[in-house]
C-alpha cells in the first residue's frame, strides 16, 4: 500500500508540476487564436483601483486560462469528452429561444417617432407602451471592434443552421431608419431593402420551426416591409429562396448563404427593378474547396471537418477589379472575386467583394450610362454584390458596422441613384445591429 501511495503521489505531483511549469513559461503563451478569430485575454495593467476591487487579479485568472500554452490541444480534448455526454448528432447551441410575437403587418410600429427602443424583454411584455428615454440601449459610437458572436444554432451531423428569434423593437427601428433615408434622400433615389432569411427559416419545415419556437422569417420580413413608406421597395426574398430549398443555398459549416442563394435574391431585385437578370451560365465560375466556416469554429465538429463546404463564386463580366478602403482609409486594389485557394480553411468566404471592408468601389467600363448604386451590407451582402456589377457603371458598398461616414453624404456626393440595404434578418431586427444602421443615417 505504501508503495502504491508513493507511486500515486509522485505521478500526481509530476503531472501537476509539468502542467504548472508549462503554464509558467510566458513565451509559450499564445496571444491570438486563429480558430476562434480573436485576440486572447492580455495580461492586465496594474492599477491601484484594479487591485482594490479585485478586477486586476480577476483579469489575471482570465489571462492565465485563456492563454494557457496547450489550450488548442486541451480544447479539442474537451470537445471529445463532451461528445460522450449523450447523442450529440443533433444539438442546439445558445439559448435564445424566445422571439417576440410578430404583429399583423397593418398594425404599424409601436412608436413611430421614437428613434430607438428598449431591449427585447420590455418590448415583449409591453408592446404598446411608449418607452422612457432611459431604457434606450446604448448605441455603439464607433465601428464594431468586438467582432461578432454567433446567435443560437442548430447542429445536425455535418450541418448547422442559424436560428431566428424576432425582436420587434429592432425591426421597428430598422424600418424607421430606412424611412428616414427615404425622406432625407428624396424621390430621385430608389431605396431597396433586402432582409436575408437565415438558413433555418428556409431549410427547416414548418413543424420543426414551430417545435423549436423559431419566429416566422417570412412574416418578420413582411412586417418590416409593411412599416416602410410607400416609396421604398421592400423586397421579400423568402419565397424565391424557399422555392429552391433543395439547392445549395446556405453553407453547412458556416452561417452565410452561398452565391447561389444570393443569385436568387438578385433575380428578385431585377424583377423589382424591371430589368432582366443575367443567367448563371453567363458568368465565369470559380470554385474553392475545403471551406470550414463559423459553425465549424463554434462546434469543432468532426462530422463537419470530414465534409467541408465548397464555395462557388461567379465572376462579374464587366470587370473583376475593385478598390477597398480599410479602417485607416488606405485604398487597395483587389478582385471582386478573389482567389482564396491558398487561404486558411476558415477564410474561403473572403473571396467575395473584398470581404468586410468599411468602404469599397467598383467601376464597370462596359457600362457608360452613369448609373450607380450603393449597397449597405453585412457579410451576407458580400456574395450578393458581384451580381450587381453588370448592371451599374459605379457600384459602391459600405459595411454598416465599420463605415464611419453617413449614407446620405455618400449618396449626395457620388450622385447615387439606387440605395440597396442588404442585411441578414438578424441585423435588421437586433437592437445592437440596428443601432449601427441608425448611426449611418442621422437626421440632417
Amino acid at each position: 500500500m505504501k508503495r502504491t501511495n508513493r507511486i500515486k503521489n509522485i505521478l500526481f505531483f509530476t503531472v501537476l508540476g509539468v502542467l504548472a511549469v508549462i503554464g509558467a513559461i510566458w513565451p509559450l503563451r499564445p496571444q491570438v487564436s486563429e480558430v476562434e478569430k480573436r485576440k486572447l485575454t492580455p495580461f492586465p495593467q496594474l492599477t491601484l483601483a484594479g487591485v482594490m476591487d479585485g478586477s486586476f487579479t480577476g483579469e489575471i485568472d482570465k489571462w492565465y486560462a485563456d492563454t494557457y500554452p496547450l489550450r488548442d490541444v486541451f480544447i479539442r480534448g474537451a470537445n471529445r469528452l463532451k461528445s460522450l455526454y449523450g447523442n450529440r448528432t443533433v444539438t442546439i447551441i445558445g439559448n435564445g429561444d424566445h422571439g417576440d410575437d410578430i404583429p399583423d403587418v397593418t398594425s404599424g410600429p409601436t412608436d413611430a417617432t421614437s428613434p430607438a427602443s428598449a431591449p427585447t424583454e420590455t418590448a415583449a411584455t409591453q408592446p404598446t407602451e411608449t418607452l422612457p428615454p432611459d431604457t434606450v440601449p446604448p448605441d455603439t459610437g464607433g465601428p464594431v471592434t468586438d467582432g461578432e458572436v454567433l446567435g443560437s444554432i442548430f447542429v445536425s451531423g455535418d450541418s448547422a443552421y442559424s436560428l431566428f428569434y424576432f425582436n420587434r423593437t429592432g425591426a421597428d427601428r430598422y424600418a424607421q431608419a430606412i424611412n428616414r433615408a427615404h425622406r432625407l434622400l428624396g424621390g430621385n433615389v430608389n431605396i431597396y431593402s433586402i432582409a436575408i432569411p437565415l438558413s433555418s427559416g428556409i431549410l427547416f419545415d414548418k413543424s420543426l420551426q414551430e417545435d423549436i419556437g423559431l419566429s416566422d422569417e417570412r412574416a418578420a420580413i413582411e412586417y418590416i416591409n409593411g412599416l416602410m413608406d410607400p416609396g421604398v421597395h421592400g423586397l421579400n426574398i423568402y419565397d424565391v429562396l424557399k422555392a429552391h430549398d433543395d439547392e445549395y443555398l446556405y453553407f453547412r459549416t458556416d452561417h452565410h448563404w452561398t452565391a447561389l442563394g444570393a443569385y436568387y435574391a438578385y433575380t428578385e431585385l431585377c424583377r423589382e427593378k424591371g430589368v432582366a437578370p443575367h443567367t448563371l451560365d453567363q458568368f465565369e465560375e470559380k470554385t474553392f474547396t475545403g471551406f470550414l466556416g463559423s459553425f465549424y469554429s463554434k462546434t469543432l465538429s468532426e462530422d463537419m471537418k470530414g465534409n467541408p463546404d465548397t464555395v462557388k463564386a461567379y465572376v462579374p463580366m464587366g470587370t473583376n477589379r475593385m478598390v477597398y478602403a480599410d479602417k485607416n482609409g488606405k485604398e487597395t486594389n483587389w478582385d471582386i472575386i478573389h482567389n482564396v485557394d491558398g487561404y486558411k480553411t476558415g477564410a474561403k468566404y473572403y473571396c467575395f467583394s473584398g470581404s468586410d471592408q468599411p468602404y469599397s468601389y467598383a467601376h464597370n467600363p462596359q457600362i457608360t450610362d452613369g448609373s450607380s448604386c450603393v449597397v449597405i451590407k453585412d457579410s451576407f451582402g458580400n456574395a450578393f454584390i458581384p451580381f450587381l456589377i453588370d448592371h451599374y457603371e459605379h457600384v459602391y458598398w459600405i459595411d454598416f458596422r465599420y463605415y464611419n461616414g453617413t449614407l446620405t453624404d455618400l449618396v449626395r456626393e457620388k450622385g447615387i441613384g439606387d440605395v440597396i440595404f442588404c442585411l441578414n434578418l438578424d441585423n435588421t431586427t437586433s437592437n445592437g445591429a440596428v443601432g449601427l444602421v441608425d448611426r449611418l443615417i442621422p437626421e440632417d
Partner: protein
C-alpha cells in the same frame, strides 16, 4: 480565484503545496499558510481583507477577555462579541435587502446603497462565532496568538466555501501535525475527485439547467413542461456536485497539509426523509445551527410547541444564511414545514411507506427546493413553478427538450450516479476483493485516477475559455 480555475490549480495550489512540503517546522508551515491564505483572500479584493482582519480581531480580543472573566461579565462579553460579528455580517449581507424592503413599504430611504458581499463572510463569521461560544463554554482555550486565530479563520482551504470548521477540531493540528504519504494520497484523491466533480460534471449540468431556467419571466413562461423539469433535475445535480466538490477539495487540500476536516456531505440525495437529508447535507452548517441555536433555545426538551418554534427560528436563519432575498426565506420555510410535518407523523407510519415511494417523494422535494433556491426574482419563481405544473399553457414536450435530453443523457446519468455512494462502494469492494486481478485493477485505478482526473479537468477548464467569433476582432 475559485478552486476550479486554472490559475488556482497551477499557480496557487501547486506553489503552496510545494512550499508547505518543503518547510520543516510546523511554525514555518503555519506562517507560510497564513501568508498564502491572505494572498488568496485578497485576490478577490484587498478591501475584503480588512473586514476579515477586523472580525478575527474582535473574536480574538473578546475570547482572551472571556478567559479571564467569569459569570455575568463573561456572558456579556460573549454577547458583545457575537453582536459585533453579526453586525458586520448584517451590514454587508442584509442591510441592502432590509432597506430595499423598507423602501418598498414606506418609501424611505430614497436611495438604497448597493453593498458588495465580502467573499466568504458567512462562513468565517460562523467559524468565529463558534470559536467565541466554545471559549465561553470552556470547550476550547482562547488562542493567545492573533495570527494563529487569523490562520484558523482565513485558511484558504475552507475560508470561502466551507466546511465551517470548528476551532476545537483544528486547534491541535494547528500546533502540531504530520503529513504522511497516506495523507497525501487520500488528499490527492479527494482534491482531484472534487475538481473533476466541479469542472466536468457540475459545470456541464449547469448548461442543462440554464437551457430552460435562463432568461426573464416572459421567456420562462414559454418553456415546455418537460424542459423545466429537466432543468430542475440538472440544477439539483449541479448544486450538489458543485458544493460537495468544494468540500472535497477543501478536505483534500487539508489532508495534504495534515489537517483533518470533518465531512460536510454524506450522500444527501439518497435520503429517505427530510430529516435524514439535512443530517447529510452541508453537515457543518446544520450542526452549527443545532449546537449554537437549536439546543441553546431548548431543542426538543421544552415540549412540542417550543420545539416547533425552535425549528422555525433555525430554518428562518438557515434560509437567511443562504442569501438576503425572499426566496431563501421561502426556501427555509419550505423545509421548516416539511420537517415539522415529519416530526408530527409517527416514525412507524413513515417506516410503513415503501422505500421507493419515500425516495420518489424526496427527489421531488429536493428538486422543488432547489427551484425555490434558484430564483431570487419571485415572479420568475412562480412562473417556473406554474410551468412545471403545466399551467403556462405550453406543450408538455418539444423538440428542444428532446434534443437537450438526448444530447446530455449520459452526462445526467453519470452525474446522478456520482450523487450516490455507488462509486465509493465499488471502490471499497475492489480494494477488499480477494481476487488478485481485481486487486491489481484497484491499484492501477488508485495510482492513475488523480493524474487522469487532473488532466481531464484541465482540458474542460481550458475548453470553457473557447469563445469563437465570426469575424476577426482586431
Amino acid at each position: 480565484m475559485v478552486f476550479s480555475s486554472m490559475s488556482f490549480v497551477f499557480m496557487f495550489f501547486a506553489v503552496t503545496i510545494l512550499g508547505h512540503g518543503l518547510l520543516k517546522s510546523v511554525k514555518a508551515k503555519n506562517i507560510f499558510l497564513l501568508i498564502a491564505s491572505l494572498i488568496f483572500y485578497s485576490w478577490a479584493s484587498l478591501g475584503f481583507t480588512a473586514i476579515l482582519l477586523f472580525d478575527v480581531f474582535v473574536s480574538w480580543f473578546f475570547a482572551l477577555l472571556m478567559q479571564v472573566y467569569k459569570g455575568k461579565v463573561r456572558r456579556r462579553l460573549l454577547a458583545l462579541c457575537v453582536t459585533l460579528l453579526l453586525s458586520v455580517l448584517g451590514v454587508f449581507k442584509y442591510l441592502t435587502f432590509l432597506l430595499e424592503n423598507l423602501r418598498l413599504l414606506t418609501g424611505f430611504p430614497k436611495v438604497v446603497p448597493d453593498i458588495v458581499l465580502p467573499l466568504g463572510i458567512s462562513f468565517y463569521t460562523f467559524q468565529l462565532i463558534s470559536y467565541a461560544v466554545d471559549v465561553y463554554r470552556g470547550k476550547v482555550r482562547a488562542q493567545r496568538r492573533f495570527w494563529m486565530l487569523l490562520l484558523y479563520a482565513s485558511l484558504f482551504h475552507q475560508c470561502v466555501a466551507g466546511p465551517i470548521v470548528r476551532y476545537g477540531d483544528l486547534a491541535r493540528e494547528l500546533e502540531d501535525r504530520q503529513v504522511t504519504q497516506a495523507h497525501l494520497s487520500r488528499g490527492i484523491s479527494r482534491f482531484t475527485v472534487g475538481l473533476a466533480k466541479k469542472s466536468i460534471l457540475a459545470n456541464s449540468c449547469a448548461v442543462v439547467a440554464d437551457a430552460f431556467f435562463s432568461g426573464g419571466a416572459s421567456a420562462l413562461a414559454a418553456r415546455p413542461v418537460a424542459g423545466l423539469w429537466l432543468s430542475a433535475l440538472a440544477y439539483a445535480l449541479q448544486i450538489y456536485l458543485d458544493f460537495s466538490a468544494y468540500s472535497d477539495m477543501a478536505i483534500g487540500m487539508g489532508l495534504m497539509c495534515g489537517f483533518h476536516y470533518r465531512e460536510n456531505f454524506n450522500y444527501p440525495y439518497v435520503s429517505l426523509s427530510v430529516t435524514e437529508f439535512w443530517r447529510n447535507w452541508h453537515i457543518s452548517l446544520s450542526s452549527f445551527f443545532r449546537d449554537y441555536v437549536y439546543i441553546p433555545l431548548g431543542g426538543n426538551r421544552r415540549g412540542r410547541a417550543r420545539q416547533i418554534l425552535n425549528l422555525f427560528v433555525v430554518w428562518l436563519l438557515t434560509g437567511l444564511w443562504h442569501g438576503a432575498s425572499w426566496n431563501y426565506i421561502i426556501w427555509g420555510m419550505f423545509f421548516f414545514l416539511l420537517l415539522a410535518l415529519e416530526k408530527a407523523i409517527p416514525d412507524r407510519v413513515l417506516r410503513a411507506v415503501p422505500g421507493v415511494f419515500r425516495y420518489a417523494a424526496m427527489l421531488l422535494i429536493i428538486c422543488l427546493s432547489w427551484v425555490i433556491f434558484r430564483f431570487e426574482d419571485l415572479h420568475s419563481l412562480l412562473t417556473v413553478l406554474a410551468g412545471m405544473l403545466g399551467l403556462n399553457g405550453n406543450a408538455p414536450f418539444n423538440a428542444v427538450a428532446g434534443i437537450t435530453l438526448r444530447s446530455n443523457w449520459v452526462l445526467l446519468l453519470v452525474s446522478a450516479v456520482a450523487c450516490t455512494p455507488f462509486w465509493h462502494n465499488l471502490r471499497l469492494w475492489l480494494r477488499d476483493s480477494r481476487s488478485a486481478a481485481l486487486k491489481v485493477l484497484y491499484r492501477t485505478y488508485d495510482i492513475l485516477h488523480p493524474a487522469l482526473l487532473l488532466v481531464l479537468s484541465t482540458m474542460v477548464l481550458t475548453g470553457n475559455t473557447y469563445n469563437p467569433f465570426i469575424y476577426w476582432t482586431f
